[in-house]
């Protein structure tokens, strides 16, 4: 027997601040106990659907509603936020900003406090859920000091105490390293099974979410539902890339090898693919056809690190220490590893934001003598959060700021800024205020603002986190171009495929130590390393293993080379 718990009937919604409706004539019914994914590019309206389900619309985000949205028998237009919060529990994308309590225990109890539960009952409930989710030992810690995966679990515990029938996850994987992402998905699945809750996940990282069985995928684009299918049907239908969502890598590989996907009954995971000699043969043939481009010729060193480290305070368990490596002119480096391993710390050290042990030299020059500003003439750093960098109102002024401070002539500034805006695809918006831009565009403004200074080394902290597939591709191709023009680039990332596709060298960190410095594809060969740095093999590798291709790594490399050729053709 199925029971409809969420129902949208010819539902449209227009934010007061927008000229166009964000959701257009939506019809959607979700049953009690379903686990489903809402996927779509940025601005497609997928988060707006989430806001209807948890009552932020129309209670906080006001706008015009036509049609009906019924959650557990209640019309959202007639229900206040507090009543809906007993029905829908929301885990926000940025867990850091949703922690309210000072300790894990207190944060989990927050909703109970607001319900006026007596203290001993709160303690009891908190302990029960902490135990259930395996975070009992963390109850006295500050949530901010936990790893990304642990934060996600604490946020989950904080809403589980309500025992509401609907769990809504807004991009749960955006800030997690690959291993934590997998664990989080497994946990969501377990909770769903145990409580028979209705789980709705909003994500654009389809492949990761599909590591657990889903009942349905709702594909949203431009405010409309493009597809409402089982994952398997959706993958057979070839709708994803047209609608700005990346296909699982293994499917793209099968397609490249010209294997007819319609002949394969179950496409939902590498394991589900049939053991078919024919498929193995086709994949092997395709792999053999691709000629792998040779590696780079000799290089000269740009940045040298010797025994570099930094300790934030005496209590820090794994401070960054003893990093010794050389970054060469023209390198495109990815810095990978678990949350909190010291990746960002290293970048801050290089830019002079924080003091350091050890020696850093740039083109043979000891950096110690230079201030942040002086280093910035040579090294550009794009922070993860664009809001921490932007200080001007207009795009042009923001990009021009660095040049103005360096005393350039105004007409020279204009030429340089326009040139940079063109490279970054922002030229059409040059007279716009920054507040009118999307997150992805703001990110590009900050890249432009650094790029215009023409630094020799460009460092970017998670340039693609939270970006949809199209923006991701744009940003990365743009960086690739810069690299080909000779810029040395370092990026921090959690995206394994990005690491392999775009970068030519990886530095892997775990617990404050540099544990590997190698070719990205080779990095994902060693099991011990993968585990230590909380990385994950991509499904390409799994595909090659499943069909017993000669060299799984070569297969991965062949795929990446083929991809590069297509993009630059």
């Amino acid at each position: 027997m199925t029971n409809t718990i969420i129902e949208f009937k010819d539902f449209s919604f227009q934010y007061d601040s927008q000229a166009e409706p964000t959701l257009k004539h939506l019809n959607l019914a979700i049953n009690q106990g379903e686990m489903l994914l809402i996927a779509g590019p940025s601005g497609s309206g997928k988060s707006t659907i989430g806001h209807c389900i948890n009552g932020l619309i129309p209670n906080i985000d006001t706008g015009n509603i036509t049609g009906e949205c019924i959650i557990n028998g209640k019309n959202i237009q007639e229900t206040n936020l507090f009543d809906l919060s007993f029905i829908t529990s929301t885990i926000l994308q940025d867990t850091d900003s949703q922690f309210i309590g000072l300790t894990v225990g207190e944060d989990i109890a927050f909703a109970l406090e607001n319900d006026c539960q007596p203290q001993n009952r709160m303690k009891q409930i908190v302990h029960r859920w902490a135990d259930e989710l395996g975070i009992e030992h963390l109850l006295k810690q500050a949530p901010q000091n936990l790893s990304g995966g642990q934060k996600q679990i604490v946020a989950l515990a904080g809403v589980m105490v309500d025992e509401s029938p609907i769990l809504l996850f807004d991009e749960p994987l955006a800030n997690l390293d690959p291993a934590s992402g997998m664990k989080t998905m497994a946990l969501i699945n377990r909770i769903q099974k145990e409580l028979n809750a209705t789980v709705i996940i909003i994500e654009h990282r389809l492949e990761e979410v599909m590591s657990q069985p889903l009942d349905r995928v709702i594909l949203v684009n431009d405010g409309k539902i493009v597809a409402d299918k089982t994952p398997n049907d959706l993958l057979h239908n070839n709708l994803l890339e047209k609608n700005g969502v990346r296909n699982p890598l293994y499917l793209s590989a099968l397609k490249k090898a010209q294997i007819d996907l319609n002949q394969i009954p179950d496409l939902t995971s590498v394991n589900a693919l049939p053991d078919d000699r024919e498929i193995a043969r086709k994949l092997q043939n395709w792999q053999d056809k691709i000629t792998i481009t040779g590696e780079k010729e000799e290089t000269h060193s740009l940045l040298e690190l010797k025994g570099v480290g930094h300790r934030y305070n005496k209590l820090q368990v794994h401070p960054l220490h003893d990093v010794t490596t050389t970054i060469n002119q023209g390198d495109f480096i990815s810095i990978v590893g678990q949350n909190g391993a010291g990746k960002t710390t290293l970048c801050r050290i290089i830019c002079g934001f924080i003091s350091n042990e050890g020696l850093i030299s740039f083109n043979g020059d000891d950096l110690k003598q230079y201030s942040i500003k002086e280093r910035s003439d040579k090294i550009g750093y794009v922070m993860q959060d664009p809001n921490q960098m932007i200080s001007q109102k207009m795009i042009f002024d923001e990009v021009a700021l660095g040049l103005r401070l360096r005393g350039y002539e105004e007409n020279e500034i204009q030429t340089k800024v326009y040139e940079t805006l063109k490279i970054c695809g922002l030229y059409p918006y040059r007279h716009w205020p920054i507040s009118a831009l999307s997150f992805g565009q703001k990110k590009r403004v900050t890249i432009a603002a650094i790029l215009v200074l023409d630094p020799e080394l460009l460092i970017l902290d998670e340039p693609t986190a939270g970006q949809d597939w199209q923006t991701y591709t744009e940003i990365m191709n743009f960086l690739k171009q810069l690299n080909q023009q000779g810029k040395t680039i370092m990026i921090i990332t959690h995206d394994m495929h990005l690491m392999m596709e775009y970068t030519n060298r990886s530095l892997a960190f775990a617990e404050g130590t540099l544990i590997a410095d190698t070719d990205p594809i080779k990095l994902l060969t060693e099991k011990a390393l993968i585990k230590k740095a909380a990385l994950k093999r991509t499904s390409l590798y799994e595909l090659a293993v499943k069909y017993r291709l000669k060299e799984p790594n070569t297969f991965v490399r062949a795929y990446i080379d083929a991809e590069r050729d297509e993009k630059h053709a």
Partner: protein, 277 residues
């Protein structure tokens, strides 16, 4: 550069003061501060000074955590004392009914009585500042909120105060991050630039700081409402502590101090202790 030892905010510790109930500490702080504000009895003030400096030592707070704020307060204190003197240099003689001149300077004639009066004012600062700082640095903001609520202040206001306290370290951190980011754009804020330039450059940090703080406030208020903050007239507190023997003792001590002030008032026939007659 920035690390935790420079942050002005609560950090867990394990000395005696940390173990006390937040309500106890709040009541103690309020009563003792009021007592010090009322009385000008030098003996009492000196005793409280010694006590508050002793408590400060006991809490093992690092100088780097408070150096900035203390320097700021000292600057204001000196300014204040100077102005008090300028506005009425003869105030001391009028309250102590005697006049022993130290320096002849017309309107600005300095008397021993005025010096004594200013010394008392100075003692008042030295009494209350360490106690207030001590309270802020050793009290878990959530427990602080719970204790405000307990003495009758609405929980919404209590929570707002505690969130504000909690975000001081966060805002300090974003300030440092943004400052570094702006320097990386070419604003020289290190000692290599002149003071004027550094002040002007600092203004560039304010905009992003406000925007990123507003964004954070928006996110946290959404998160709080999604978890029903404000849905009821009352709320309970996970961190409320029950009163222990020590708490009662400290409260009694605070009340005794207030009583002493009242007794001294009687003995001195007013707020001032007068050694000159």
């Amino acid at each position: 550069m920035h690390d935790e030892s420079q942050i002005l905010g609560y950090q867990p510790g394990n000395s005696f003061i940390y173990q006390l109930n937040a309500t106890t500490k709040l009541v103690f702080m309020l009563l003792v501060s009021i007592a010090c504000m009322i009385t000008y009895d030098t003996r009492f003030l000196i005793a409280i000074c010694v006590l508050s400096i002793f408590l400060f030592k006991e809490a093992k707070i690092k100088w780097s955590q408070i150096s900035f704020i203390v320097k700021l307060i000292v600057a204001f204190m000196i300014l204040n004392l100077i102005f008090v003197f300028i506005f009425q240099p003869s105030y001391g003689e009028s309250i102590y009914y005697s006049k022993s001149i130290l320096i002849h300077a017309g309107y600005f004639t300095l008397t021993l009585q005025e010096v004594f009066y200013l010394f008392n004012l100075f003692l008042k600062y030295v009494c209350s500042i360490p106690i207030v700082l001590l309270f802020l640095l050793t009290t878990n903001p959530s427990q602080f909120a719970a204790s405000l609520n307990k003495i009758g202040i609405s929980y919404k206001i209590s929570y707002a105060v505690s969130l504000a306290l909690r975000y001081i370290p966060d805002i300090q951190n974003s300030y440092w991050d943004i400052s570094a980011a702006q320097q990386a754009r070419g604003i020289e804020l290190s000692k290599k630039a002149s003071l004027g330039k550094r002040i002007k450059g600092t203004l560039n940090i304010i905009m992003p700081l406000i925007f990123s703080s507003l964004e954070r406030i928006d996110a946290i208020s959404t998160a709080m409402q999604l978890r029903r903050f404000g849905s009821k007239k009352k709320r309970t507190w996970y961190v409320t502590q029950s009163f222990k023997k020590e708490d009662y003792l400290v409260m009694i001590a605070a009340v005794i101090l207030v009583l002493i002030v009242i007794v001294l008032w009687q003995l001195n026939h007013g707020r001032f202790y007068n050694p000159f007659i």
